[in-house]
């Protein structure tokens, strides 16, 4: 299970809608508790793919390194990533599967005609054969900031 604040979930949806008809992407920061992963911060990342951005996204190694550094600064982990599927279901593609790492959560937002629709989360099996859908628990309380000052410099 992955828990995310409603405000953050809405921010992800807004990001997906804003980049339509292209795919959006971003990082989920948080921690792993007894009940699963808890998202504490999200960070939108520019889609680095130079072509076919309506069906592909890319987060470069440099952006990933910055994300890891940011996670360390926050005292959190990179829990996973989100991206959108414009005019496609919120289900991982074979391409997603081939490029996935274990343990991380992959949150997918379906966007239909510019409007955000379903949101799902997936995690790769250890043997890399398939994704397993994980439950998204939405925390309707205000997102709890972990550290003061976070929220500027690109944080959603």
């Amino acid at each position: 299970m992955i828990t995310i604040a409603l405000t953050q979930l809405n921010q992800i949806k807004a990001h997906a809608s804003a980049t339509y008809p292209e795919e959006c992407c971003g990082v989920l920061f948080g921690e792993e508790g007894e009940s699963g992963k808890i998202v504490r911060e999200i960070l939108d990342i520019p889609n680095a793919k130079e072509e076919n951005r309506e069906r592909r996204f890319l987060i470069t190694p440099e952006e990933y390194r910055r994300s890891e550094q940011e996670a360390e600064r926050l005292g959190l982990e990179v829990l996973g990533f989100y991206h959108s599927h414009p005019d496609h279901p919120a289900r991982p593609s074979q391409f997603d599967l081939e490029h996935a790492m274990p343990w991380w959560s992959y949150v997918i937002v379906s966007v239909k005609k510019g409007m955000p629709a379903d949101v799902t989360s997936w995690s790769l099996d250890d043997d890399r054969r398939e994704f397993r859908e994980e439950k998204i628990a939405v925390d309707e309380r205000e997102a709890r900031r972990v550290m003061p000052g976070v929220g500027s410099g690109g944080m959603l």
Partner: protein, 125 residues
């Protein structure tokens, strides 16, 4: 000679949750070999079936991608830090289909009628 190797978050469950490990080797390839010897389950996540590094797995020596150095033969010393850095990529189910010299953008739900239109009438082709 022990060289520090940084482990990305998703692979830490396979390295006893260590953020970094110290491994013996004089090249990036030797370190990767040592890493997958100590933690065999990592192999399937780092390498494709043909034994080459997966395309989205990047290995850096300090700030440089070994693809632009000497690849797995890139020399390392104990002063270096080696990082395994994934590129994060994905996308929807759409795919390209090449038909008689035409490249069509289709998906699983694309109708036969639509494909026929793309081939015969679409101004793109």
């Amino acid at each position: 000679m022990a060289v520090k190797v940084l482990i990305p978050t998703p692979l830490r469950p396979y390295t006893n949750k260590e953020r970094s490990v110290f491994l013996s080797g004089t090249t990036a390839g030797e370190l990767l070999n040592e890493l997958t010897t100590q933690f065999p389950v990592l192999k399937q996540h780092l390498y494709s079936g043909d034994g080459t590094l997966r395309s989205y797995v990047n290995v850096y020596v300090n700030d440089d991608d070994i693809r632009y150095l000497q690849q797995e033969q890139t020399p390392v010393t104990e002063k270096d830090t080696v990082s395994i850095i994934p590129s994060i990529a994905g996308g929807n189910r759409q795919c390209r289909l090449k038909v008689e010299g035409l490249t069509l953008e289709i998906q699983k739900t694309t109708s036969k009628k639509r494909i026929e239109w793309l081939i015969n009438e679409s101004p793109i082709n």
